[in-house]
């Protein structure tokens, strides 16, 4: 495995309940961070495990290990005109795709 030179995600880990925004980073070739979550604000529902990020593991790079989180979104915040107020969606994000949301 090749050692990756990508910068470490040096921000402090998030906690359950933290509000986070999915970063809209440039991407190509491969990612597991869905387009429909980009820019959306959600809350950390759980911390799961630490592992390589898909952008590196998928290319056999021995990159940095990052914390993964289950992030919960309101469907109303993901889709324009979503008609049901209570519905939510959860998905899993590695740390580098998240930033603190202040609002």
């Amino acid at each position: 495995m090749k050692k990756s030179k990508s910068p470490e995600a040096s921000r402090a880990p998030f906690k359950v309940g933290d509000k986070v925004r999915v970063r809209d980073m440039p991407y190509m070739f491969y990612t597991r961070s869905q387009l429909y979550t980009r820019g959306a604000v959600g809350t950390i529902a759980a911390l799961t495990y630490k592992d390589l990020i898909p952008e590196e593991e998928a290319f056999n790079f021995d990159g940095h290990v990052e914390q993964y989180y289950i992030v919960r979104f309101r469907q109303k915040d993901l889709w324009p005109g979503y008609p049901f107020d209570n519905d939510t969606l959860q998905t899993e994000c590695p740390h580098r795709w998240l930033e603190p949301a202040t609002n």
């Binding site: 597991r32 961070s33 869905q34 429909y36 799961t48 495990y49 592992d51 898909p54 993964y68 289950i70 919960r72 469907q75 993901l78 889709w79 979503y82 049901f84 107020d85 209570n86 519905d87 939510t88 969606l89 959860q90 998905t91 899993e92 994000c93 590695p94």
Partner: protein, 245 residues
């Protein structure tokens, strides 16, 4: 209809279709070629392939049904299932470390049970591929793998559920779980009315695979997931294979 063209070696002057002795597809040929080359080059052994096949043919949704039925009848087990999914699976005979000892390459060892409540209903998808808790539920159904389901469930969950015959009141929170990384999930539906004095076996019978994905609710008398079935041309030569639960 099923013949393929053989591309002759440079010495051939003809280029015509050779009828096959038995119907074999280009995909079968490719798979055999890949497998034999891998074995010839020492990448794995035929015994490895046989052993993993044995495991693949042993999995199915019955263990998941048992897990749910047990959780419905035993509050301590239910608490365990919600806290430590892997341990709960072991108690119904499923070890996520099998058959390699460290888990399968695609299913990993991060399993979580999602509990439905009167206010919350879960439904599972993998929008990126079709990640599925195989060790506990067996192979995913064809529809779960379609781009169609993966496109629509995250954005129009209630419409898709309605197509499965499931309509929920607006106050109920429908929570879609997009399992896009290494965690694997299963829905623990609520125990339905009218099953008060049922045995675990009776309860397990109504917890079908669709109930554990979240596209159906368990109901007395409902013991099968009914969908149209696309038959295979050369199905798996094994007694275990089932197209539906």
């Amino acid at each position: 209809m099923s013949h393929t063209h053989t591309h002759g070696s440079p010495g051939d002057t003809h280029h015509k279709a050779a009828p096959m002795v038995e119907e074999i597809t280009d995909y079968e040929v490719l798979e055999i070629a890949v497998r034999e080359l891998a074995i010839e080059h020492g990448l794995f052994t035929a015994e490895d392939h046989r052993k993993f096949t044995e495991w693949a043919e042993s999995i199915g949704p019955a263990a998941g049904s048992r897990l749910v039925a047990k959780a419905w009848t035993d509050p301590a087990y239910k608490a365990l299932a919600l806290k430590d999914g892997l341990k709960a699976c072991k108690e119904v005979g499923v070890d996520w470390a099998e058959p390699t000892g460290v888990g399968t390459p695609s299913d990993y060892m991060e399993f979580h049970v999602l509990e439905d409540t009167p206010a919350l209903h879960h439904v599972i998808v993998c929008t990126l591929c079709s990640c599925y808790p195989r060790p506990l539920l067996g192979m995913s159904p064809e529809w779960y793998r379609t781009t169609n389901y993966r496109r629509r469930l995250v954005r129009w969950p209630r419409q898709v559920l309605a197509e499965f015959g499931l309509i929920l009141p607006p106050e109920v929170e429908v929570r879609v779980e997009d399992s896009n990384q290494k965690c694997r999930f299963m829905v623990m539906p609520m125990r339905p009315e009218g099953t008060g004095n049922w045995t675990e076996e009776q309860l397990a019978e109504i917890v079908t695979r669709d109930c554990m994905i979240g596209v159906a609710l368990p109901k007395p008398g409902r013991t099968a997931d009914v969908h149209p079935i696309q038959k295979a041309r050369r199905p798996v030569k094994s007694s275990h294979q089932e197209a539906a639960q």
